[in-house]
Amino acid sequence: MLNSAVRVERSLLLRRTVRRVVHTLVVHALLLTGGVILLAPFAWLISGSLKEPGQIFVLPPVWIPNPVRFDNYPRALTILPFHLFFRNTMIVASMEVLGTVLSSTLVGYGFARLRFPGRNFLFVLLLSTMMLPWIVTLIPRFILFKLLGWVDTLLPLFVPAFFGGSPFYIFLTRQFFMTIPFEIEEAARVDGAHYWRIWWQIMLPLSKPLLATIVIFTFIHAWNDFMGPLVFLNSMDRRTVALGLATFKGLYSTEWNLMMAASTVATLPILILFFFCQRYFMRGIVMTGLAGR
């Protein structure tokens, strides 16, 4: 009697364990399959970037290049002035990061902590511009920058960042600042600190995770942006990496191995950066999603 009860219990336990193992295996199998499908194009790109021309156009495709042609890279990067493209991109990206961090934390502090008439209205206005399609303002912006003589310079790409940049970062900052206890600020106020000092010496140092999120988002945006450089830049030596890569396609569309090498070089820095900073990146994405609530 007792014996059979134990047996039933044991078989139930066994069945449950088997079910759990099967479940885990199925989940891993599905996730792995998806991962392979998502990553296969990257593998194909890197492999192609190391092949000699003849080997790219072989069917069925060869995955391991033979011989390995590392010199595709120096050739791809010198056929067009990629060193200038990288320099320009770094200038735009670092200025855009600086502008966005300064202006969005200033504005975010204003919205989170200071009282002034019309604050709520202005904040709703700011939020609604998040949904504004960028294409509506593009043409007048172009004309404005043309009048200022800024077309074919890097200025149109980063100056707007100093004026609030994207409303999304202001929103993020405001939400983050609201979670910082008032008491810290009040103590500083009692000691006679001005809002500027509170912003600079209290809020910013307490917001390192937020700043990291803004920095990495802005950097990736600046690096990947295509429409901006396409519209505002002309001369070859002023182009960014993304625009330079598109130029490559226009000029040497048959040289797949070189194009693949250039694409790899344009992609790899961003993937490495993302890999090391993904914690901050994911947090930003999650906060965007929660904005929808």
């Binding site: 404005l144 797949w256 965007t288």
Partner: protein
């Protein structure tokens, strides 16, 4: 009053780069202006011309086709991926990183990549098809298949929507599922009556943002197909770009931009309206119960 000082960078930026340009864009849309000669006022002439322009209807059709297929498919794939990652298995953070990589890839680089993968003669896609004994396809070069190929490619960037879904899933309290299990609910019933309603605000967010973004689809079509073959991938923003920056018809392009803006606005408002029927906000219910 210090508040105004602190928000002044945004206020100035809003006037200079958002509100000002929007007003200017209305004025421009009533002008004919080729940049070199002074603008002339044409009233609603641009809008009349736009109604008769066959490329406008072609590009609107292409864009709608792309949006209404890619956005739902995109949400479904991202949701499935998020549900898989929400299971209690190991290495989830690695999968999450891996699935996110396509979304940080520069749009130009991924466009080039896809033009290689879907090349009819030497591409990876046809090689895979042939491995399974299936006939090779023309992909971007086939007028009937070019848009579906773009939709397929858009699914590669499931990262952001997936991460947002995953955060939403992790926010659903376990107690709800436990209570349902005690009542004998199976997986499907739990998914249908707990997961989806609890996730609806996030689904709504992804839907609204997804539609706004895909109405403005541009880079892929500009790089890979340049609108072809036979205008099958002439998307609206690509046509707008050509008018503004290749033909320099600033007035006409502004009219095009305003039409797109109004279409997107109507869709967004419509969705906000419909959201009352299906989006479940916990906070609201609590308030109503008070």
């Amino acid at each position: 009053m210090w508040g105004y000082v602190f928000i002044s960078p945004w206020l100035v930026g809003f006037v200079l780069f958002t509100a000002g340009p929007m007003l200017a864009s209305i004025v421009l849309s009533l002008m004919e202006w080729e940049l070199i000669v002074p603008p002339t006022f044409v009233g609603l002439g641009n809008f009349r011309q736009l109604m008769a322009d066959r490329y406008v209807s072609i590009s609107l059709y292409n864009t709608a086709y792309y949006t209404f297929l890619s956005v739902p498919l995109h949400l479904i794939t991202a949701l499935i991926a998020a549900i898989l990652m929400n299971q209690r298995v190991r290495f989830i953070s690695y999968y999450r990183t891996l699935y996110y990589l396509p979304s940080v890839t520069p749009a130009v680089a991924s466009a080039l990549l896809w033009s290689f993968v879907f090349n009819p003669d030497y591409g990876l896609a046809n090689a895979v098809l042939q491995m399974f004994g299936l006939p090779a396809q023309g992909w971007f070069f086939d007028p009937a298949l070019a848009k579906p190929t773009f939709i397929l490619v858009s699914l590669w960037n499931l990262g952001s929507a997936m991460v947002i879904f995953l955060a939403g899933l992790q926010g659903i309290p376990d107690t709800l599922y436990e209570a349902a299990s005690i009542d004998g609910a199976n997986w499907w019933a739990k998914f249908w009556s707990i997961t989806l309603p609890m996730l609806s605000p996030v689904i709504f967010f992804n839907l609204v943002m997804g539609i706004i973004a895909s109405f403005q689809v541009f880079t892929g079509a500009y790089i890979i197909t340049n609108g072809g073959p036979a205008d099958a991938t002439l998307f609206y923003v690509l046509y707008l770009y050509r008018n503004a920056f290749q033909f320099f018809r600033m007035g006409y392009a502004s009219a095009l931009a305003w039409v797109l803006f109004l279409i997107i606005l109507v869709f967004t408002l419509l969705q906000l309206r419909l959201a009352r029927r299906w989006v479940y906000y916990e906070g609201e219910l609590r308030e109503a119960g008070r």
